[in-house]
Amino acid sequence: MSEAGSHSAEAGDAGHGHEAPKYMLIWVYLLVLTLAEVGVAFLGIPKWIIVTSLLIMAVWKALLVALYYMHLKWEPKRLRILVVAPLPAVAIMIIVIMMEYV
């Protein structure tokens, strides 16, 4: 029924002209990062170093999945804006409520 809306698909698919993204390489990255995370978590180094490195690795893995597997790298910029839109709201919510206990 909503086929009328999909005719703008041609423009969307044109973006696939690039070479097939290296899925297996990304997979390896993800595995290595996961193992690194587990490794770092149980090291004896000061807590804040562990936490920051864990967060960096988590964000890195998240970006890998989002950009390559969810194809965001080749999507129009406006879709990327739409996808990133809720993140500031989440950040504001958590930071402001944490201010309650600082």
């Binding site: 029924m1 909503s2 086929e3 005719h7 919510m93 201010m99 309650e100």
Partner: protein, 586 residues
């Protein structure tokens, strides 16, 4: 090539209509217009129920020591020997607020008019996901039935305020309400799901299914308002669902998210609720602003004053709406340092509303005002919303909020923006789009009588509440006798209650006009108000699939009294490509 596809599908949609069974065409229909009408009947029903609860509350506040008439029909757990019991009064307060917000005003603003107008005003055949649209209506039915039957379960309906502050809402032993509260939380999660599915549909339709030529800045302000409302709903409702589920677990399986004895934080509930709550109140007002801008332009026969400013005002309300929630919690024990930041952000969210008010007045300035009923309600909206906005400034200033928080000053502010604002605009919208929905006009004289009765009694009910707030009358109190600072309020409350009964009665005048005109109303032309937006360029009511051929848009939404057009004082969006217009151009 694109038009051919649209052409083919357009035809296919029109022919497909005759094959559907009655069930498929009307009850489980996926036509956005039928879903809108189903929402309209559902929300009018709940508006009546919510109003009735308010009448019982008003009776109790005005005459606390008098038994209510017909008290016998209520079970003993609600009304004992004719007297409304305090726990039932708390349920009345809670369910009046909740039913009005979640089951009447929000679905009427978003469920009815986003569904009906977005495809028609954008020149689309239907919503992006018609089946999902149908589900978003049918989820509301169990939510409605759950809410209504929660009055009759053991312990009665929820009784911790529509804001459900924990731990009162989380501990059945402190209120005597167990199942009723859980049923209400279940229906809130269902309503949240329905609203997310709806917002999903509206956003995708506005982004991807606009007719040729309908650029972002040629969209009518109604669609802009509904689009931004959908974004607010999309980002705010899930947080309420998450918090509601946590509260449901606190009650049922004994977790202690918000119970201090288990280490939980009552303030966390307030933060999560109001993080959803403030975008919610903007969900309740933005569509009303959109309808008012549309109706004021049509009524004044003049383009909207400052279209770009209005659009940026709506967008800035959306962003600011997510960073002001703390102003509901100034006195709640929140970290006082947050009080300053929320004061500043709250005052700055008042700026876009001020801009919109001045632009509405600019639209009427040097116009050719046709004072038909929708126009009267739109002007009534601007007048009443201005009062509501101004009384909001008292609360934004935190020291003043120390005194007026949780008093009737807040109740006055809520009702000036929700009743004087959203409901006035909704009445205007119902009168305005009724010919398009049902092909018949509502009666003008009955409409005008309804407007003047509503305006007068609305002010008689809610303006004195500012006074009660100044005196210091607290919210949600069952019987104010015994407080020395409240000795003088008995006659004010009596006046408010009599006016409230009259206001409720004038609502039935509207209901009569609404149902009577369904069959007896004057036949409506395709464009009875001589409006320029696309929905008025289709037959009333439009065929299934709306457009035989998708229209091409050449002009901005409100081109009235265009100097280049002499035979009539309006220029439809999809006609006369030869006439240049500021937002038009080729």
């Amino acid at each position: 090539m694109a038009t051919m596809i649209a052409e083919a599908t357009g035809q296919a949609i029109l022919t497909e209509e005759h094959k559907q069974s009655f069930l498929r065409k009307y009850i489980f229909s996926t036509d956005h217009k039928v879903i809108a009408i189903q929402f309209l009947f559902l929300t009018l029903f709940f508006l009546m129920i919510g109003g009735f609860l308010a009448m019982m509350m008003r009776y109790q506040i005005a005459w606390p020591d008098q038994p209510i008439p017909l008290g016998g029909i209520f079970p003993e757990s609600m009304v004992a020997s004719g007297y409304i019991l305090p726990e039932f009064y708390n349920s009345l307060v809670t369910m009046h607020g909740s039913i009005m917000v979640f089951l009447a005003i929000m679905p009427m603003l978003v469920g009815v008019y986003a569904n009906y107008l977005i495809p028609l005003q954008l020149g689309a055949h239907d919503m992006a996901f018609p089946r999902l649209n149908m589900y978003s209506f049918w989820i509301m039915i169990p939510a409605g039935i759950l809410t209504l039957s929660s009055f009759f379960v053991i312990g009665g309906a929820a009784g911790a305020g529509w804001t459900l502050y924990a731990p009162l809402s989380a501990r059945p032993d402190l209120t005597g309400v167990a199942l009723g509260q859980q049923m209400w939380l279940a229906s809130v999660v269902l309503i949240g799901l329905s609203s997310i599915f709806g917002s999903l549909n509206y956003i995708t339709t506005v982004i991807n299914m606009r007719a040729p030529g309908m650029t972002w800045f040629r969209m009518p302000l109604t669609v802009w308002a509904l689009f931004i409302t959908a974004i607010l709903g999309l980002l705010a409702m899930p947080v309420l669902s998450a918090a509601g589920i946590m509260l449901l677990f606190d009650q049922t399986i004994g977790t202690s998210f918000f119970l201090p004895e288990g280490g939980g934080q009552p303030l966390l509930w307030q933060h999560l609720f109001w993080f959803f709550g403030h975008p919610e109140v903007y969900i309740l007002i933005l569509p009303a602003m959109g309808f008012t801008s549309e109706i004021l332009a049509v009524g004044s026969r003049k383009p909207i004053f400052g279209y770009k400013a209005m659009v940026w005002a709506i967008i800035s309300i959306a962003f600011l709406g997510f960073i002001v929630w703390g102003h509901h919690m100034f006195q709640s024990g929140m970290n006082p340092a947050l009080g300053l930041t929320f004061t500043i952000s709250t005052l700055f969210i008042a700026v876009p509303s001020a801009i919109k008010t001045f632009n509405w007045m600019g639209t009427m300035w040097r116009g050719n005002l046709k004072l038909h009923t929708p126009m009267l309600f739109a002007i009534g909206f601007v007048a009443m919303f201005a009062i509501g906005g101004l009384s909001g400034i008292f609360m934004a200033s935190t020291p003043v909020d120390i005194y007026i928080h949780d008093t009737y000053f807040i109740v006055a502010h809520i009702h000036y923006v929700l009743f004087g604002g959203s409901l006035f605009a909704l009445f205007g919208a119902i009168y305005f789009w009724y010919p398009k929905m049902f092909g018949r006009m509502m009666n003008e004289t009955l409409g005008k009588i309804h407007f003047w009765l509503t305006l007068i009694f609305f002010n008689l009910v809610f303006f004195p509440m500012h006074g009660l707030g100044m005196v210091g009358m607290m919210r949600r109190i069952y019987d104010a006798s015994g407080y020395r600072h409240l000795e003088g309020i008995a006659d004010t409350n009596a006046l408010i209650t009599w006016s409230a009964f009259a206001l409720y009665a004038s609502g039935f005048l509207f209901a009569f006009n609404f149902f009577w005109s369904l069959w007896r109303g004057k036949k409506a032309a395709d464009n009875p108000w001589d409006a320029t937006t696309l929905e008025w360029q289709t037959p009333s009511p439009p065929k299934h699939g709306n457009w035989a051929e998708v229209p091409v848009v050449y002009h901005g939404p409100h081109e009235y009294s265009h100097p280049g057009v002499t035979d009539k004082d309006w220029l439809a969006q999809n006609e006369r490509p030869d006439v240049p217009s500021p937002a038009g151009g080729h």
